[in-house]
Symmetry: C2
Subunit: 418 residues, 2 copies
């Protein structure tokens, strides 16, 4: 689906925002930036594979050759994709080397690659540590790099939502948090709940569900190791275990479904440590004294991919919503109402991005066509260039007549008329 | 004009690319990124002043408060703008502190400013050295920074253009190169000319014009010092003086109009040093053996704001054009035909940007509305957010009916209809 949408966007051409000013005869368009390096993550061997995933599709659709770095935890799948991609490139008469793939690289080789003069840009999805090493190298060389690092995807549950539909919210949260053993970039890892009876019952309701659901399997030994390390960071920072917290017996790599709790004061005073991501089936509940403290908690949040607010449908939470939402809005790429963040629709308005440290730049998205293609493009302007030398999409006649173009400040599919 | 266009764009709203997917009820828009720091340059006290120039206008039009750093060479002008801006902000009920200005800062204070957690982004126009110091600090903090550094704006003059209209090209070049004593970011500082009789006569024609034109005044002692230093770098790297090369007598800060020459082999083998920008009324002519060498010269070029190719109007240069243009295209933000680069129209299709080291990112432009506004914006997505909580431009009804919105992949000014 993702590959098909990207291919359709590439053929149609609107993604490149062709812009024509007839009076000055200045024309511009987004065009391929040059060979793109794609570092794929461990968690999505299909949708985000270095060789056939979102970054790969966007980079190729924008017209760039791709060098994909396969994640070492699924070399076989990646190799199959690579072979298919190679055949496809040959079938469609792409230049030799249009798609290439490499396996395990050292940090040093990765840095040389992303900063190489012939490389146009890099897409990276993975751990924060490795990502920041690559970012520093690319930044120093002036090469664009798009990172998707970590995100705890805060969920604010306002008092009215618990009054109205506590069981339903507990169901939605549990399903979202334990989906794929929690190994989604948009996994809800931080939930802010009001103190008091309703909040307490909500925590207990989630606890029951966590205990009734079998723990999923973590992807590798290294994911389990990192789960354990991050969990300890949270515990040392003042969180305590409501349920779980131990390796799952007899299930390969894995941990019990783990629910942690911390009070609002502790979170506010120790937010950096308590925002550590535990990648997997774990979530931290923050019990906020009141609405004021919920706002202060929002103010302490780092950049995230998503942020959710659950509120009563009759509007009784709206005053509090209006205080939390503007604070949360500037800290997340996608703001949700009454919905968990794990579903990421591949649709033009999707933003799978957000402020640092969720990604490296708050203006770009790695999912959602056309916008994700523009990451791997440079803006190319033509000033007084003779008509036959222009790229087809910038000539007076709209080739195919399907691409939207901004002509003299109006979007149109028509030709330029004298 | 720039401020008016920016204000009109802000009121109209199309710059923010409002995008609505009705089936999934996902909506997104570019929104203010947060307080923007603007470092203004020395050369445009009006159009690019930190307090009222292009970056300032774009940042404010995108909805951000601005902290402007005035360049120390025109504190008075900048102060007048600041006072006007403050009055305007008060008249329009902007929050206190919406515009602020500061003067001279140390590198250290500059770095603290651009990497401060409350800062959204930075716009910088100025020297490469200071710019890269700020870039490193901003990059490390994950804060977007848009730089306009240096550019030598190569001009390729193909053999046919000299046969056809040598005097005209010499006139255009001289006017462009000496405009404002050459202190434009798009000043043509590198000209590639074919070897032989026509090329020789072209150099002589430019030499005469340089000698007949009085030298302009450089902006400050520090510009003169930097002129002298860069000139020496070029001379040490193998260039020699055709005319000029000495400080101008009795004219305040200034240098004689200076024309340098170097052969193609020397340029190709020592391109890094020979691409040093001499900011001012100076240009380096490279005498290329033949078309092949012109292509090799293009391949050695760093990122630039602009690149020009002059060719015969009857098409006899087209084979060579077709070899040089693709190489040059990937290295410049704006490609021109038969036209010098100094004019920068403020128009939607303009790209005043280009690959590093001309700027910090090849996908952005600092001139041209709407695109320049999107530098100072973050992508904000709304997923299932209740209608009354959406920003007006993302509601079903198009407020005002003037903004273009991408609804279900079609650009339209209409409302969303059920």
């Amino acid at each position: 689906n993702q590959l098909r949408q990207a291919a359709a966007a590439a053929r149609e051409g609107s993604w490149a925002l062709p812009t024509i000013d007839t009076k000055t005869n200045i024309r511009s368009i987004y065009a391929p930036v040059g060979p793109v390096v794609v570092f794929g993550p461990n968690n999505f061997p299909f949708a985000f594979n270095g060789m056939a995933g979102g970054d790969f599709a966007a980079a190729v659709a924008a017209g760039n050759p791709v060098i994909a770095k396969g994640h070492s935890s699924h070399p076989g799948t990646t190799r199959l994709f690579a072979e298919e991609a190679l055949l496809a490139a040959q079938d469609t008469d792409m230049p030799p080397g249009f798609v290439q793939m490499i396996y395990r690289t050292t940090h040093q080789d990765g840095c040389r690659l992303v900063s190489h003069p012939k490389i146009g840009a890099t897409g990276y999805t993975g751990s924060r540590t490795a990502g920041l090493v690559l970012k520093e190298a690319a930044d120093r060389a002036g090469k664009p790099i798009y990172l998707e690092l970590s995100s705890i995807n805060p969920v604010f549950v306002l008092p009215g939502a618990l009054e109205e539909r506590m069981e339903e919210v507990a169901n939605q949260f549990t399903a979202s948090c334990l989906l794929g053993a929690g190994q989604f970039c948009t996994n809800p890892g931080l939930v802010i709940v009001p103190k008091g009876d309703a909040g307490h019952r909500f925590v207990q309701a989630v606890k029951r569900r966590f205990e009734q659901t079998g723990p999923g399997v973590l992807l590798s030994e290294s994911v389990e190791r990192s789960f354990s390390k991050s969990l300890n960071t949270l515990l040392r920072a003042g969180a305590y275990v409501v349920t779980g917290g131990k390796p799952a017996a007899d299930r390969g790599y894995g941990y019990q479904n783990t629910l942690l709790e911390v009070d609002g004061d502790t979170f506010v005073s120790n937010a950096v440590a308590l925002e550590t991501e535990v990648f997997g089936n774990c979530s931290l509940f923050v019990i906020a004294d009141d609405g004021d403290q919920m706002v202060r908690i929002a103010e302490r949040l780092e950049g995230n991919l998503t942020g959710c607010i659950y509120s009563h449908t009759d509007g009784r939470d709206d005053a509090l919503y209006d205080r939390i939402a503007p604070v949360l809005r500037q800290r997340v790429g996608r703001l949700l109402n009454d919905k968990m963040p794990t579903g990421v629709a591949v649709t033009p308005a999707m933003n799978h991005g957000g402020p640092y440290p969720a990604t490296g730049h708050p203006g770009f998205t790695s999912v959602g066509i056309p916008a994700s293609l523009r990451r791997f493009a440079m803006l190319q302007c033509y000033d007084n260039v003779r008509p036959h030398r222009l790229p087809p999409l910038l000539r007076d006649k709209n080739p195919g007549g399907r691409a939207w173009r901004l002509i003299d400040r109006q979007w149109t599919r028509a030709d330029v008329t004298a």
